[in-house]
Homo-oligomer: 201 residues x 2
DNA sequence: AATATTAGTTAACAGTGTTAACTGCATTGA
DNA sequence: TCAATGCAGTTAACACTGTTAACTAATATT
């Protein structure tokens, strides 16, 4: 009888309930203030009950990261999709803006994924379809732009890594140091994106 | 009689002893593994004794940051000083390389200063001579390069911020994600620095 | 010499992640 | 149907964390 199947579903439901509570707490209180006891309290269980569903706190973190990374990919793809132009240079530019926008719109997730737990990224992505991973997406756009003559022909992987570095730089600095006397934000971002493209031309 | 003076010196000595122990522990064990009790143990005092000399752990952190930032400035200035050329473009380039080198040579300090506690930077620098602050240094080199016609004339502050962003990007990514399939390091850094300069040309 | 100051101590609080031992209920096998 | 097993969820506890309060003992001031 399907009692085993049902049990499996119940476990999955409980896991979901736990990570939902974790996500909610994380978004309101910030990750460093999310404790096992607080998660448990949120769903009316004892803290140790969680350990029947997750080996430890890190496993919950991984799910948080997955959640954020999914939002990240959506933002990236939407950013490119919203770009009317068929010009691969314009489309590349759109993806660069989309990356920064994700960071500014979801600073907690950006910090969690790209600043505090970058070393976990492999673990977060392993189950994803390769074609959908952020860096692959960027590399493809760079290749297209090179083939079209919009960018000078370099090693596309290195060029994409260079772009990522510059994107990560401006995004993480704007997020983690908002009180610095930055130039007016929009103008600064435009300047950075244009410089990045020009640097590869 | 100088008993007050002596006492003052004793206090300063004790503070020094504490932050020296903190620095040592930090460099061997990493900051997140440095606790008040471990610092105290290192200098044969009880943990609570430290609170007679520092208000809390954050005050010790600030001193750690100051220590690291002094090393950072030294590296930056040495990097420029070692540059034989008088060409402001070359000298700017030397400072960019020096920034990245500092990060790679002192990853723990780079993380502590520029990743985990960037918002404290103001506090770390307030007492320093303005002319010696890292960002001012960079801005001056950018201005010189612009005046010499090596870089196109933009807003020098924004250009310097853009350079900083790109530098921070590659440095922090290399440090916090060493296992990523980066292009061969030296070549990647060269590529990034050249792209950055070209982007401002 | 009596008093006040204070460096350094221990005990304690409130919190953290996590493990061990236990309870009571639900499913299983005879 | 009844005993046996498995296991979800509990409480208690451990070894930590930063930090405060109360105390001791030695020093400095009057």
């Amino acid at each position: 009888m399907g009692t085993k199947e049902r049990r499996k579903r119940e476990i999955e439901e409980m896991r979901l309930e736990i990570i939902e509570a974790a996500v909610q707490l994380f978004l309101t209180d910030g990750y460093e203030n999310v404790s096992m006891r607080k998660i448990a309290q949120q769903i009316d269980y004892s803290a140790t009950a969680i350990y029947k569903y997750f080996a430890n706190k890190e496993e919950i973190l991984i799910h948080l990261l997955k959640h954020g990374y999914a939002i990240f990919l959506t933002c990236l793809k939407e950013g490119v999709a919203d770009c009317k132009s068929r010009n691969p240079g314009e489309r590349l530019k759109a993806s660069l803006y989309a990356y920064i926008d994700f960071g500014l719109k979801h600073p907690e997730y950006y910090r969690l994924i790209f600043v505090e737990n970058l070393h976990q990224l492999q673990k977060v992505m392993t189950e994803e379809d390769d074609r959908v991973r952020g860096f692959v997406l960027l590399t493809e756009m760079v290749m297209a732009a090179m083939n079209e003559g919009v960018l000078k022909k370099h090693d596309a992987h290195m060029a994409a890594q260079s772009l990522w570095a510059s994107l990560h730089g401006i995004t993480s600095l704007l997020i983690t140091f908002p009180d610095f006397h930055w130039h007016e934000k929009e103008g600064f971002i435009d300047f950075q994106v244009n410089s990045m493209i020009k640097g590869l031309t």
